[in-house]
Each structure stands twice: as C-alpha cells, then as structure tokens.
C-alpha cells in the first residue's frame, strides 16, 4: 500500500471516528441539565438580563433607546453577567492510554477523549472558553471551537507515557488533565506546580482500566508497555499482585497529595464505570467552584 493511500485510509477512518466522537460527546453532554450556569445578576454577557431605569452616572451609550422611546424615562438594557472562564484541557494521547483489558471495556484514551469533549461541550454551553494545552488550540468559545477540539483530540502520540503540558494555560484559568498517570511523576509535579504558580486551578482526572486496578494475572508472564519500550518478566505473576497494588495505591496517594498541595482536585475513573457519572463529577468540580 502506498504511503498516500495508507494516509488516505487512515484519515478517512479518523474522519469517520470524529463525528461519532462528537456525537457521542454531545449525547453525553445532553444528559447534564445546565441549571445554574448563568450568574443571575446583571453584568457583562451576551444575553439580555433586564431593563432598568437609567440613573445618574450611567453612560449615555448604555441607554436602550428603543425601550426608552416607549416611555418617558430612559432605560438601560442590562445583560446577564457572565464570567468567561478559560478552561484548558490536556488529554493524554500516549500509547499507554490505548489499553483495554477486555472487549467489554473501552480503551482509556477513548473514555478520556469522550469525557474531555463532553465537558468541553458543556462548558461551551455555559459560556466558558475551552482550549487544549500546548500551542495548538488556545481557549476560545463557540461551536467551531468544539469542532476544532474534537479534531485535535483524535491525534495520537506514540510515546509510551505522556506528560502534561502547561503551555497555553492562561493565568487564573482552569485546567483538566486526563491521563492514567502511570508515567514518571516528575513532569506531573512540575506541571502542577507551574500551574499553581500561574494561579491555575484544575482537576487531575485519572482514568484506569479494571485490570490495572485488580492485576488479575497469573503464571509466567512478560509484561510489556503498550509502546513496547518497557518490559518486565515474572515467573509468578500472581505473586506480584500485592506489591503492584501497593505501588498503585502509593501512586494515587502521591497524586492526591500533589493536588492538595497545589489546590487542585483529584478524580479517579475506571473504564468499567459509566462515563456519565464521571462527567457529572467533572462538571460539578469545574462549575461548582464558581459558586463558592
């Protein structure tokens, strides 16, 4: 097969997947009732909020002449106040995310993208700006941004374990990192401290496969990383289980402590669980902070 043909085929496959992902994400986002996204008070925003009689000190250009013409006093058209937050998403697209232990479970990367896109759609609806970390996609608003986002999310990296990027995060914005966080903890720590320095608060969202949580392996086994760069051979996999679980727990603890230190929030999701719960949790975690 020629390179171009293979490229074409792959891109078609990708293209085919893209609307599906978007559709699924919209479907998922549709399940969340957006009850409280407005600020319920006048302020900067796109939507009409109320007319109020003009008071001294109001700028003349704020008067709504059409409304004022119907009465004797001048009215100002007030718009609902909206704070446009910038939310920067980072979705780990490394090879380790492309793992599913069972046919019935989706790959972790699949779930991560779905959740990312769904939360993006929700945030977009509530007027936030969404972008991807890195230089590719700075935070913007609108449907077009969702399209661009979903396109960008389909990229895949061939490295084994990904590290979060902090470039492109706006100061005092928000961030959500989707990953399994199996890679080196150093970059994660750097990214988080960096983000904390810039006043960015956010969520570490760890997505794990049930097999990674249970380690149901026995017998003589060579474990390889998804990219094949790492390998570990054991003669009795069952013997390793306990120690593996200990290490996993300590990794989770580490992440959690990191989050506490930097004011982030830590979330854990398994691919065996439904995506909707995770989405609700995520949405509340992001939006809920506005109301504190």
């Amino acid at each position: 097969m020629t390179v171009s043909a293979s490229l074409r085929a792959r891109s078609e496959a990708e293209a085919a997947r893209f609307p599906a992902l978007l559709a699924r994400a919209e479907h998922l986002a549709g399940t969340v009732m957006l009850g409280e996204h407005g600020r319920r008070r006048p302020g900067m925003g796109d939507d009409f909020w109320q007319y109020r009689p003009a008071q001294a000190g109001d700028e003349l250009r704020l008067i709504d002449w059409r409304r004022s013409a119907r009465s004797d006093t001048q009215f100002l058209r007030q718009r609902e106040w909206k704070i446009a937050q910038s939310v920067t998403l980072w979705v780990d697209s490394s090879a380790s995310m492309r793992f599913a232990s069972d046919k019935n479970h989706v790959q972790k990367t699949d779930r991560a993208r779905l959740l990312a896109l769904a939360i993006a759609i929700l945030l977009n609806r509530s007027g936030e700006r969404i972008g991807l970390s890195g230089a590719d996609l700075p935070p913007r608003r609108g449907e077009a941004q969702i399209e661009r986002l979903s396109h960008a999310l389909t990229k895949e990296l061939n490295i084994d374990y990904g590290a979060p990027e902090t470039t492109g995060m706006l100061s005092h914005g928000r961030a959500v990192f989707f990953s399994d966080f199996f890679g080196d903890i150093g970059p994660v720590r750097n990214a988080l401290t960096d983000a904390a320095d810039r006043g960015v608060q956010g969520i570490l969202f760890q997505i794990l496969d049930p097999a990674e949580e249970n380690f149901p392996y026995r017998g003589r086994t060579v474990f390889e990383s998804m990219g094949g760069t790492l390998a570990h051979e054991t003669l009795k996999a069952s013997e390793l289980r306990k120690r593996y679980l200990e290490r996993l727990a300590s990794r989770k603890d580490e992440l959690r402590r990191l989050c506490i230190d930097t004011g982030w929030r830590y979330g854990l999701h398994h691919t065996s669980q439904p995506a909707q719960n995770a989405l609700l949790w995520l949405f509340n975690a992001i939006e809920g902070e506005h109301h504190v």
């Binding site: 793992f99 374990y161 399994d180 003589r220 086994t221 390889e224 990383s225 051979e233 003669l235 996993l248």
Partner: protein
C-alpha cells in the same frame, strides 16, 4: 512374556517405562513458556523481583496426565494381548486322548466344552498330533486319528442322559492301550465310583489335564404327591451360597399345545444341597403335567418326567340303592370311598351325567340292570378303554342279568340265587381266598387268613370262565372275574362292596386289589414283585439335554430292571408303557446323591472358559492420544490461553461430536400430520408428483371443504396431500386420487396399505380427468394408467352408478355427477346380485357398505377448485349453464363425503314403511 492374563509381543519395549521418572524430573524442571502481555501498569512493576526463584511448576495432575500418556504409548507399543493363546505345546507330540464324561451333568456346559474341544483339536491339528475322543458314558475303543477328522465329527457328539457307571469305567480301562498319550479329561463335576483308578491308569500313560466347569450341577428329583400337592425337590452338588431356582411344570393345555402350566421358586439355603417346596395344582391341571424341569437348565438331570403316578384317577361310584339313609357302614360304597379317597377323585351322580366326564373307572355296586341308553353309552365308554368295576349284591343276585346268556357288561354268566356259606342257615365254613395264580393281576399279593366270604354270586361254568377268573376262593369258585371289552375291561367282584357278604372290604387286601386293578392311582414305582415278569416298551426317551425324543425301535425292558438298575444305554431314561400303565424313568431318582468330584491335588484342573484373545495395543494408543488431547486443552487452560469464549466453543464442539444424531425429524412430521388428521375431518388427495395436478386437487378439496362447511354439518380442516409411501392412510376418510399418465407406481408396501385402507372403510375417488373420452378405461392414457395403478388393488366388482344408488341421495338428490366435464359413467361397487326392489319404495335394499372406490373422469377437483379468496379457479361450461354444472359438481362432492361419513344411512329409508307400520300399532 505374559503378565497375568496379558501377554506382550514386544516386552523389551517395556524397559522404556524406566524413563518415566526422568520425564517427571524434566517436566518439573522446565517452566512453561511465558505469556507476553501488554500492560500499561508495567511502569509500576519495574524493579519488583520474584520472591521465589523456582519456576511456577507444572501442576502435579498435569504431570500425571502426561506420564500416563507416555506410559500408555510405551505399553501400547509393546503389543499387549489380553488372554493370549498359549502356544501349542510343541515339545510334546504325543497323541492326545480327549476323555469326555459326557453325562447329563456335562450337558449343562456342552457348547462350552465343544468350543474348547474344537480349539484343542485345532491346536493339535497344527502340531500334527493324533487325537482320540473317548466318551465315558458311551465307551468305544479309542482310535487315534488326525485332529481334523475329529473336528468334523464334533457336532455329532452329544451328552448321554445317564452317568457313566463302574462298568463303563472298567470297559474304558480295558480299552486303554499301552502307548503313551496326553489326556484331556472333560469332567462333568460329579463324583464317580472308581474315577481314581481310571485317573491313575491315565496318568501312567502321560499327563492328565482336567477341564471342568465351575457352574453348579442342579438336578430335580421326581415329584411326590403329598396331601394332594406336589412336592418338588431339587438337589445340587455343592452346598455353597444361596441359590434361587425356578421349577416349571410343563404340559399340554386344553388345546393340546405344549406350554408352561405353573412354576414355583425354590431356594437353596447356604450349606444345603437340597431345596424342596410344595406346588399346589388343581387336579385337572396336575393330570396334564407331562414334565417338571428346573428353568434355564438344559440337561436331563433337571427334567423329571411324570407318569400315571401324578394322575389322580377319576372314579365314578354308582350304587344300586342309595335310599338307606344313615346306615353308612351298610352303604355299598362306603368301603370303596374309604379305600379310594386318598388316591382318586370321586365322581358321583347318575351314570348318564358321569360318563361324559370320561372317568377312568366306573364302579357299579350292586347295580343289576341299566337302561338301554345307559348300557350303550357304557359299552362305548368301556370299549374306548374304560374300566367297569362291578360288585355283586342282593339285587344282582336277584336279577336276571347275565343269566341265560352273558351280558355284554358282565364278565361271566351268573347262576340264579348265588350261594351262602357258613351262615346260620347254611352248611360249611365261610370260605377263604385261594392264593393268586401267576396270570392274575393280583399275583404276589398276600392272602390274609381272616378274609372270608360268606355269600357270593356264582358264575356259570363256561368255556371261557377259567381265563376270566383272576381270583378265586379256596374251593375254586370264582371271586373276581374279568373280561376285556375293546381296549377296556369289565371286572366283577362276586361279593358286595360292603362287609355284608365278605370281610374282604375290611382288609388291606381290598385296597391292594383295587390298586392292582388300577382303580386307585399307583403312588410310586411299582414294587419289584409287581414288576416281575412284565415288559415295558419305551415310548419316548430323554436326550442328554433333557428333550424328549421318540424311542424309535428301542427294545422293551424287563420290569425288574427298573427297580434294580440305574439308567444306562440299555435302560434309557424316558417314558415306558407297561401292561396297564405308563412309567417314567428319570435320570434322577429320589435317592440319587449329587456329590462333587474331588480331584487329587496333583491333577491340573482348568475351567472351560477361554476368553478370546484381545490385542490391547490399539486401545492403549488411543487412550494415550486422548490423554494428550486433554493435556493440550489443560495446558492451554493453565497458561490462560484458552479464552473463555474458546472454552465455550470447544465445549460446544465436543458436545456436537459426542451428541447422538438428532432423531429423524421426518417421521415426527408425519406423525404430526396424522395426529392433525385424526382431530378433524380431513379431505386428502394423493400426491401424484405433477405439481399442477396436485395444486388443482388441493384447491378442489379446499373448495369442496368450504362448500361442506357452509352447507352441511361436516366442517373439514385444510385438505392435505398424502404420500402413499410414507403417510399413514387410515386417518383419512376420503382420498381423491387424480390420475396422471406419468405418475409413479406405488410400492408393494404402499399397495398393502391402500388395500387395508379400502377394506377398513376408506374411500378413494379415482379421477382420470379426461372426461372419459374413450369410454371407461379403454384406451386413454389416463385410463390405461388407472388400470395399471388399480390392478394390485383389492377392488370389488364395479358397475356404473345405478339410479337408486345411495350416492344419489345422501344429501342432494342427484341424477348426474358432473365435474368440469360431463360424463355419465361413474363407477361404484356393484350392488349384490340379490338386491331387491322393496315394494312401494323407489330403490332397492342395497349393500350395507360404503363403496370403497368411485371411479370417473369428470375432473371434479377442477370444478371444485377455488383460490384463497374463494373465487373459482377454472371456468366450467359457459354462462349460467356452466355455473349450474359447477353447482352440481359441488353437490356431487357433498353427496360423496356424506356417503363416506354416514355410510348407507340413507338406504335405511327402505325400512321406513315398516317402521311407520310398527309405530302405528
């Protein structure tokens, strides 16, 4: 090399079994191949070390499985053979003597013995040894011949129905030559006097190997009558263990066929060699028993033939005066009743009533005259073998019977009055009995002195008198006279049957005399004294297997030998006929003791069983293969490579392989079809194989069914097509059979079915569908085909439907039977020639049956045919006339189905005038 019952053709291969522990070690040392797994969490695993440096071992059961598989391969390849044939002993080329006990007891295992003997002979033949076969029970000088010539004669060897006697042994001893030979002794397992002597003699000439069956010897002793029941006793040689047997009584049933009349279980207690029980049989049934045998024992010892001793004779007692109530001791029959009671069945009643019961004996006590009818019946009965026993008395003495000339039913002429001796009014002493002469049946009986006669009727001296006297008084006057009439006899006691005229009825002699005269039944074997001088002719003799065969021209046997000798070649067990009774000589007598033979410890005793040689290699290799298969699956499962889905698939595959073939669905389908046809009225048409014709027939029957449904109370279900070969016909009342020129001829079985169908009330409407253009069955193709098809059918004579046929009025009144064509000639079963026109009725009283066939060519199905919406499929005629014709076709169909279902019910209107007439009264 042999190991128990298993031999090996390549025993050296078994050395490889030593390598098995090695395999154990190797399999334990080598770990199973690792599985490569992709696992993102490996990053967390890095640096973890296995606690145990030893490998994850193969589980012990998998090891065992593999070792078993390898062991099975090794053993399988070493050629194991179960029950290998011993190589013929080539070292000894001595002749072989086969000594068969050949008694009744060896009959139980005769086939096994013959099989073994055949094998021995085959081996001897291969080793070119000469063989002689010696039958101990029928000794003949042994002749050493080639084994082959003996093999040909094996089927002629049969066991004898007796056991070898000492005489036989002596005979055999004298036959043995001086040359050396090996002896194979086929023993019957029963002890034999002087068996050791013969054994010693044989051992001097070579080795002796005894073949003896381990099956127990069972025997049945002759039945004994006890209080009217039959006591049956079975014996066995060894008293080990409990054994239950069933003793069967065989005999002829009233129709004369041999059958099992009764059976009784007997149980040997442990340690007991005898088991006995009482079998209660009605006298009628008991008299019919011809033999008792132990069930499932095919030898003469298990059979006990019965003779007259089992039969209770039926004696009709008729007295001249019965009017003296209460005076029992004076009753002329009292003493007879007492004497006969234990052994005979008594019949009472008047002569004419009793004779048809065909008693064995009729006793007339002081009966002088018989009516001429009675006399004729009596004469006939006596001539057929009956025994008439008359006693004298006052009446006989006073009558004129047999006075001037001899009465046919009296042995002698009588003088008038008789005589009285030793009474108060007479001279002389009461007379005693004279000893019985040799030609008297009473010969040998003691004559007690206290038997005296004080009165008697006197015989007229005649030329024949002397030969007719069988007992006389001391003065020479006849006391008992006898005359043969035909095959029966008439016997006259010249005294009364009670103690009035003599003391004879009081004595034991009276009973014995009655016994001798076979009035009372003989109890057992006659005593020696009775047998003396008698000759018994064998009628049927027993074979060694316990079957009866015709005695052929075997010579008669002197009576005394029954009492003195054991059965043998000259005295074969069987049924013998003597002067006036039958005697059964059984193999087993009451005193026969079955004693197991005890062989000296040095003599090898071998069983008869010789299990067939069975190579086991194939089985073992198959087992190894199966074990290896299991090993594959188990290894896969262990290493986790047998995915659950695969496991399911495998299970399904295995189940499919092992599952028996799914039952034939077709037969069930046919059953369902028949079942559906039985629950409703179903019109059926014969499938011709021509799709168009079949469709038309189906549509036609559908149309007819609809018509019936709307107009009558017949509500048929969907019509069905019937395959004559496979379908059950009897469930259909009506078959429509369109004839096509090219339809296949049904098979013979199908014709049998159709004939049964026609005979049992079914109806077939044959339709040539060609409007009979050429006249019935002459030359149209369908007509010829109809002739061909119908020729094997059981079809009665036919005639064109007569005007008064019931078919013309079962529902509609019809004159014509049009279908799509209008042809007049429709043929039905011809009316009986004697059918008559009933006066005042428009039709004859016709046959009672439904005509089994209706033959025509009007293509009715096409006229009836409708489609799914109820519209006619085919045009009939033109315009209104055509519709009228279709209507008539439907009416014909309705009439036809009504005829099938209601038979000749409409014909019964013939009787209406008579019924009305009767009602009017």
């Amino acid at each position: 090399m042999t190991l128990g019952p298993i031999g090996f053709t390549a025993p050296w291969l078994l050395l490889a079994l030593i390598a098995l522990p090695l395999l154990w070690i190797i399999l334990r040392a080598v770990p199973p191949a690792p599985i490569r797994r992709r696992f993102p969490g490996v990053a967390l695993l890095l640096g973890l070390r296995d606690d145990d440096s030893v490998t994850d071992r193969t589980p012990w059961w998998l090891l065992l499985l593999r070792i078993l598989a390898v062991a099975a391969i090794i053993v399988g390849l070493s050629g194991p053979i179960l029950n290998p044939r011993a190589e013929p002993d080539n070292s000894s080329s001595d002749p072989m003597l086969v000594l068969l006990d050949g008694s009744w007891a060896s009959a139980r295992d005769w086939p096994a013995q013959m099989e073994l003997l055949d094998a021995l002979l085959a081996e001897a033949g291969r080793a070119s040894r000469s063989v002689a076969v010696l039958h101990l029970s029928k000794p003949e000088t042994p002749v050493f011949q080639t084994a082959e010539s003996w093999r040909n004669r094996l089927s002629g060897l049969t066991p004898a129905p007796w056991q070898a006697t000492e005489a036989h042994l002596d005979e055999v001893l004298s036959m043995l030559g001086e040359e050396a030979f090996e002896t194979r002794w086929f023993s019957d397992g029963l002890a034999l006097a002087r068996r050791e002597v013969l054994l010693n003699a044989l051992e001097q000439r070579g080795t002796v190997i005894v073949h003896e069956s381990q099956r127990p010897v069972l025997a049945l002793t002759p039945p004994v009558i006890e209080d009217g029941d039959v006591r049956l006793t079975a014996k066995r040689a060894r008293g080990a263990g409990t054994r239950e047997i069933s003793v069967e009584a065989h005999g002829r049933d009233p129709s004369g066929a041999e059958r099992l009349l009764a059976s009784m279980p007997l149980a040997f207690e442990p340690g007991e060699t005898e088991a006995s029980g009482l079998l209660s049989l009605p006298a009628e049934l008991r008299a019919r028993v011809s033999r008792f045998e132990i069930a499932a024992q095919r030898h003469a010892g298990a059979v006990s033939l019965t003779d007259d001793s089992l039969k209770r004779r039926e004696v009709a007692l008729i007295a001249g005066r019965k009017d003296r109530e209460g005076l029992e001791l004076l009753s002329p029959l009292h003493y007879l009743e007492q004497a006969l009671e234990p052994t005979a069945e008594m019949l009472e009643g008047n002569l004419i009533d009793v004779l048809p019961a065909n008693p064995d004996v009729v006793v007339l006590a002081d009966v002088a005259t018989l009516s001429s009818g009675e006399e004729l019946a009596m004469l006939e009965w006596v001539a057929k073998g009956g025994m008439l026993l008359r006693f004298a008395g006052p009446r006989l003495a006073a009558s004129d019977v047999s006075r001037a000339e001899e009465h046919p039913l009296m042995p002698v002429r009588l003088r008038a009055g008789g005589r009285t001796v030793g009474g108060a009014m007479s001279w002389g002493e009461p007379k005693a009995l004279a000893p019985f002469t040799e030609d008297s049946p009473f010969f040998g009986l003691e004559t007690p002195n206290d038997v005296t006669v004080s009165a008697q009727v006197m015989a007229q001296p005649d030329p024949t008198l002397a030969e007719r006297v069988i007992a006389q008084l001391s003065d020479g006057t006849p006391l008992v006279t006898r005359k043969r009439i035909g095959s029966g006899q008439a016997v006259l006691f010249h005294v009364t049957a009670n103690a009035e005229w003599s003391t004879l009825p009081l004595s034991g002699l009276f009973v014995q005399m009655l016994e001798r005269l076979a009035v009372s039944s003989a109890v057992a074997l006659p005593e020696l004294s009775e047998l003396q001088g008698t000759t018994w002719q064998p009628v049927q003799v027993l074979t060694g297997f316990g079957n009866l065969r015709d005695a052929g021209n075997l010579g008669g046997v002197e009576g005394t030998r029954f009492a003195q000798e054991l059965p043998g070649p000259d005295l074969q067990p069987g049924l013998y006929e003597g002067p006036d009774r039958r005697l059964a000589l059984n193999v087993i007598a009451h005193d026969t003791v079955l004693e197991p033979v005890l062989w000296p410890s040095g003599t090898p005793v071998v069983g008869l069983e010789r299990p067939p040689e069975a190579p086991l290699g194939g089985w073992l290799l198959t087992t190894a293969l199966l074990l290896l298969m299991v090993d594959i699956i188990a290894s896969l499962a262990l290493s986790g490579r047998l995915l659950p889905t695969h496991a399911k698939l495998t299970a399904v595959l295995i189940a499919l392989l092992l599952a028996p073939q799914v039952a034939d669905a077709q037969s069930r389908e046919i059953d369902d079809k028949a079942l559906a046809a039985t629950s409703e009225v179903v019109l059926a048409h014969v499938l011709t194989g021509d799709r168009r014709v079949d469709d038309t027939a189906r549509a036609g029957l559908l149309g007819l069914g609809e018509t019936l449904f709307f107009r009558t109370s017949v509500e048929p279900a969907e019509p069905v097509g019937v395959n004559l070969e496979t379908d059950e016909l009897s469930v259909y009342a009506f078959l429509y059979w369109p004839i096509t020129p090219d339809q296949p001829q049904p098979s013979a079985e199908a014709y049998a079915k159709i004939n049964t169908y026609l005979r049992t009330g079914g109806m077939i409407l044959f339709d040539t569908r060609d409007a009979n253009v050429a006249g019935f069955g002459t030359s149209s193709p369908s007509g010829r085909k109809l002739q061909l098809l119908a020729s094997p059918l059981d079809i009665p004579p036919l005639e064109p439907v007569p005007d008064d046929h019931v078919l013309t009025r079962t529902f509609y009144l019809l004159q014509d039977f049009p279908g799509r064509h209008v042809g007049r000639s429709v043929w039905v079963e011809a009316a009986p020639p004697d059918a008559e026109q009933v006066e005042g009725m428009p039709f004859r009283n016709l046959n009672d049956n439904v005509t089994p066939v209706v033959i025509g060519g009007n293509d009715w199905a096409a006229a009836w045919a409708i489609d799914a919406r109820g519209n006619p499929l085919f045009p009939v005629g033109r315009g209104f006339a055509g519709e009228r014709q279709r209507e008539l076709a439907f009416r014909f169909g309705v009439n036809l189905v009504m005829h099938v279902l209601t038979g000749n019910y409409k014909s019964d209107q013939v009787h209406v005038p008579a019924l009305l007439d009767r009602l009017g009264q």
